[in-house]
Amino acid sequence: MEVVIQQLVNGLFLGSIYALLALGYTMVYGIIKLINFAHGEIYMLGGFMGYFFINKLSLGFFPALILSMVGAAVIGVVIEFLAYRPLRKSTRIAALITAIGVSFLLQNGMIYWLGPEKKSFPQAIEFKNYQLGFIQISNIQVLILVISLVLMVALQLIVKKTKMGKAMRAVSVDADAAQLMGINVNRTISFTFALGSALAAAAGMLIGLYYNSIDPMMGVVPGLKSFVAAVLGGIGIIPGAALGGFVIGLLETITIALGFSDYKDAVVYALLIIILLIRPAGILGKNIKEKV
């Protein structure tokens, strides 16, 4: 029983990373119906920015976290401006292929620039273990969970309570109508990319700190899995993405715990197929028009 609960706790931490990433997919999809496949690469860039801020500028973890979130936000906006905005009136498949292209460009650019080797992430926070009854958790795991939850709540507040959030919701319902009402659609979309990218960068840095290893291809698998998480929760729905992330994290941990570690990726993708077959709108999917 203890082992089972410990495994569930493990899954929760893994899930919170997927959840952070899934939020970016869901928001971008919600607002311009684009699956931003370069999102996993923003996560990778976030990890690398953190690496440089801590190693080269000798910043602490939290200043570095904030800086790399800002940096990733800028990169997200630039990618949107250069790669997606010119294609906004084209077919959705054109934008999707461009996104895949951007993803390859970023991976290979980083390999060209820094080499393909794994780099060890600076251990900016001293590792400590806590024993809560029979459950063992480390300060870094707690940090991951707390930062993830804080960012998710903050995001929900931005979307629900601020003017920009209202604009985002308006654009997601009908961009043309929103424009007629005086909303600057381009700026709203840029803002969405900035938010999503900042969250991805935070996830990248947290994972770097947790596993102590970052490399240019690190975004591929988590990127795909958090995309599955976003679809699972109902793509375009923010709480759905968070829920989907946790479900995927738990599912993966349970699969390994049951001794099927070779099939853990297969199980995640099988879940995607099942959810698309029986409930295409996702767990929290409804037929109302509000997205983002």
Partner: protein, 388 residues
């Protein structure tokens, strides 16, 4: 991406296999002409595993310089022709063709990795020019489908041998009766290591868990084994995942000894795991200054330090030995023609190198002892020579 390039590489390999399959050696090999003996180097000097290739190049260059300063081989100087295979199997194949057909080398050293070496087999066999891979440990390099590859040799031991050494080390040195195996299920290297360990180890395998290359989270696996009764953990795999397993295991409070093969032998292992976590960790190495296999080690280390101003690694030593193995083969047969060198390598006996005293067995694998290196807080603190 990786998967795709692998697919292409294997297609390449298959295509290259076609015409030579069943053909065997048809050419007459290359002969040494003029007043130099040309040997080729087919190395990973750029790309994914360039660290290995460049390290071996240092050893090879040093050996060639030493031999030439001492008067060369059979009265002729060695001429080294260096080529980069960019860590790609397809490129290694064309480098092999180039070296044998255009440069007319009498022997080739390299590639460093198993996959690339296997890719060069058809070309080298066709040209009837012998190859020594300094560090390709995959069993199926020298023996394919129970058939010994006539022109393919290696300077290192093979994977199954490492599994045997580690099993012996676990039961004799660590007195382990129960072992947990956490193995990479996605590489031939790790699968071979697991199998030969299980075949040799006399104790019990308390639990066997698997992962795939690229995995990062091992909490679930480690949580499962944490409270089991066992004496050591065996991790057949490469440093990237092994480093993460060591880190996560030690942080979780698992303090049992951890064993691995030469895939641990990279400083990245310690970097990824964090130096303070890497204690009671043992792995097989090809070479150690602390347990010198022969009296050649001291002069080699001194010469290496003088030339490169650093400590030699196992890859430096293996590259260095490969060249001296060629020299001995030429001298034994009193000829520098590729056919004769092949014969010489196949019957190499009691060759004293820096990585051990070796005799070539009938499968073209050198028989030599291995060193098991022990790490404490990330530093090499013990070295035991273990015999098979």
């Amino acid at each position: 991406m990786k998967k795709f390039s692998f697919l292409f590489a294997s297609l390449f390999l298959l295509a290259a296999c076609g015409p030579t399959a069943g053909g065997g050696a048809s050419g007459g090999g290359n002969k040494a002409e003029g007043d130099t003996i040309k040997i080729g180097m087919n190395m990973e000097l750029s790309g994914d595993v360039s660290a290995y290739g460049n390290a071996e190049k240092e050893g090879i260059t040093l050996a060639v310089e030493e031999i030439n300063e001492a008067g060369g081989v059979l009265g002729k100087k060695l001429e080294l022709i260096e080529k980069d295979n960019k860590s790609e199997n397809g490129e290694a194949t064309s480098v092999a063709a180039n070296l044998t057909a255009k440069d007319k080398v009498v022997a080739v050293v390299g590639p460093a990795t198993s996959g690339a070496t296997k890719a060069t087999i058809p070309n080298m066999t066709k040209a009837a020019v012998p190859v020594i891979t300094p560090s390709g440990t995959d069993d199926s390099i020298t023996v394919v489908n129970d058939k010994v590859q006539e022109y393919i040799f290696r300077a290192c031991f093979q994977d199954t041998f490492q599994g045997v050494i580690l099993a012996n080390f676990a039961q004799d040195n660590l007195k382990a009766k129960n072992v947990v195996i956490i193995g990479d299920n996605s590489s031939d290297y790790a699968i071979g290591l697991t199998k030969s360990f299980k075949d040799t180890f006399k104790g019990k395998i308390a639990k066997e868990e698997t992962f795939t290359a690229g995995d990062k989270d091992f909490q679930a696996i480690l949580t499962k084994i944490k409270d089991l009764d066992y004496d050591a953990i065996y991790i057949p795999g490469y440093y990237a995942e092994a480093g993460l397993i060591i880190k996560q295991a030690r942080e979780m409070g698992i303090d049992k000894p951890i064993l691995g093969a030469d895939g641990f032998g990279d400083e990245k292992l310690v970097e990824i795991a964090g130096a303070k976590n890497v204690s009671d960790v043992y792995y097989t190495g090809h070479f150690s200054e602390k347990a010198p296999a022969t009296d050649k080690v001291k002069p080699f280390v001194e010469a290496f330090k003088k030339k490169y101003d650093k400590q030699p690694s196992a890859f430096n030593a293996l590259g260095y030995d490969s060249v001296y193995m060629l020299k001995q083969a030429m001298e034994d047969r009193d000829s520098a023609d590729s056919k004769e060198i092949t014969e010489g390598l196949a019957s190499l006996k009691d060759f004293v190198g820096v990585t051990g005293k070796m005799t070539m067995d009938k499968d073209h694998n050198p028989e030599k002892s291995a060193v098991v290196l022990g790490l404490t807080e990330g530093k090499e603190t013990s070295a035991d020579a273990v015999n098979p």
